[in-house]
């Protein structure tokens, strides 16, 4: 499941939104949209997003938000005993639905690109009237036009500086992974319940948890869950040999 060579080839491409990137990854593998296919493209998705993060690209926050849901799907597939909350189940279900709907619109946009401008239907050319008229109304005074100009200037689109600040404020995946790794190494043994208590924001819990999953996958952690609703115990595998649940 390590990022393949092809993962890097798409990195240079610009994706405007997270759904666009995700559908690209799924379609590239000729997969249907379901939790299995989404789990299988998660690594590649995250590689792309961390790359976007490095370049401080706009909209990265939205990509990271979707990464959290993707990692949730992936963890469930790695760790079937994992109990998801109703809210999490819903967000996974939503993602699949939204992606399927988005896929339809993408197909439509393909036909639009093909048809656009290929069989143009033209309105008649406009020729201004020849008879000289002059019909000013109440809007044709300096004060009225000044007011209209004020309105126009107020409605000019604002430059998009704010979005950059928004990206900075969001937790980055790597930050979360790193802080978790050191914390786990220090404590040797921690539990997911404990982590959950320490993190105020639910989103951070997800990202934190998935970071653990990532470490687990790389073989640096041993994860034990006694039974379905029990706590998940996490410890660093000093020997660093891959162990799977």
């Amino acid at each position: 499941m390590a990022p393949t060579k092809s993962a890097f080839s798409i990195k240079t491409e610009h994706f405007e939104g997270p759904l666009e990137l995700l559908i690209e990854l799924v379609e590239k593998r000729k997969l249907l949209i379901n939790n299995i296919s989404l789990a299988s493209v998660t690594d590649e998705y995250i590689t792309h997003v961390s790359d976007m993060q490095e370049q401080s690209l706009p909209n990265t926050a939205q990509f990271i938000a979707l990464a959290a849901t993707l990692l949730l799907i992936k963890s469930k597939s790695l760790l079937p005993v994992l109990e998801l909350t109703d809210e999490e189940e819903t967000s996974i279900h939503d993602l699949e639905d939204r992606l399927r709907l988005y896929q339809i619109y993408r197909d439509i946009s393909g036909t639009i690109v093909n048809e656009f401008g290929s069989r143009m239907m033209y309105e008649p050319e406009y020729t201004p009237p020849r008879e000289p008229l002059f019909l000013p109304d109440d809007f044709c005074t300096l004060p009225a036009l000044l007011e209209a100009m004020e309105r126009t200037v107020t409605n000019l689109p604002k430059p998009t500086v704010k979005q950059v600040a928004k990206v900075r404020a969001t937790v980055s995946l790597e930050e979360m992974m790193d802080s978790l790794r050191t914390r786990i190494e220090k404590q040797i043994k921690t539990s997911f319940f404990k982590l959950k208590q320490e993190e105020a924001e639910h989103k951070n819990v997800i990202v934190g948890f998935l970071a653990i999953l990532e470490l687990f996958k790389q073989g640096n952690l041993i994860i034990t869950q006694i039974s379905k609703f029990e706590d998940i115990e996490i410890e660093v595998d000093k020997a660093a040999t891959p162990r799977y649940y």
């Binding site: 759904l19 979707l66 656009f116 689109p157």
Partner: protein, 177 residues
Amino acid sequence: MPLDVLVEAVLFYKATPQKVTSLQKLFGVEDGDEWRAALDRLQSRLQSGATRLIITDTELSLTTAPELGEFIETLRKSELKGDIGKAGAETLAIILYREPITRAEIDRIRGVNSSFIIRNLLVKGLISREATGNTFQFRITPELLAHLGVSKKAELPRFSEFMNAIDSFSTTPTETV
């Protein structure tokens, strides 16, 4: 004078898209069978000639037939075409199949902010906006259909297939990413 001839006269004289509601008001006609029959008559009568009637939910327009597109192109001094791009086509696809639609809904479907794209489509006259309460709703324009070479959006390739596919999602939950 039959209604279809009168409608044709206004569209020909004005030489620009006309609001359905103001035409109906002008002729004192309701939006019913009589109106639809007149549009049908006009559409089929024009079929053998050089012009076509474009019908959207809100506007009518008279243009040259799509088969004449290349020929008219040779008469034009300036190039009009140009590419709409991936994001533009995607946004148009959503508005075509879901009009009238707010920006928030478009953003939700695309999973990304669409305000720049929407502004550009408005500037190009491919979509129009109408104020409803304190938000805007977006619709397609006759110009968009003219660019796609169809008189009605139902004539677009695979229209009903796509429409059915989208309808099956009409109960999609509203959670955002």
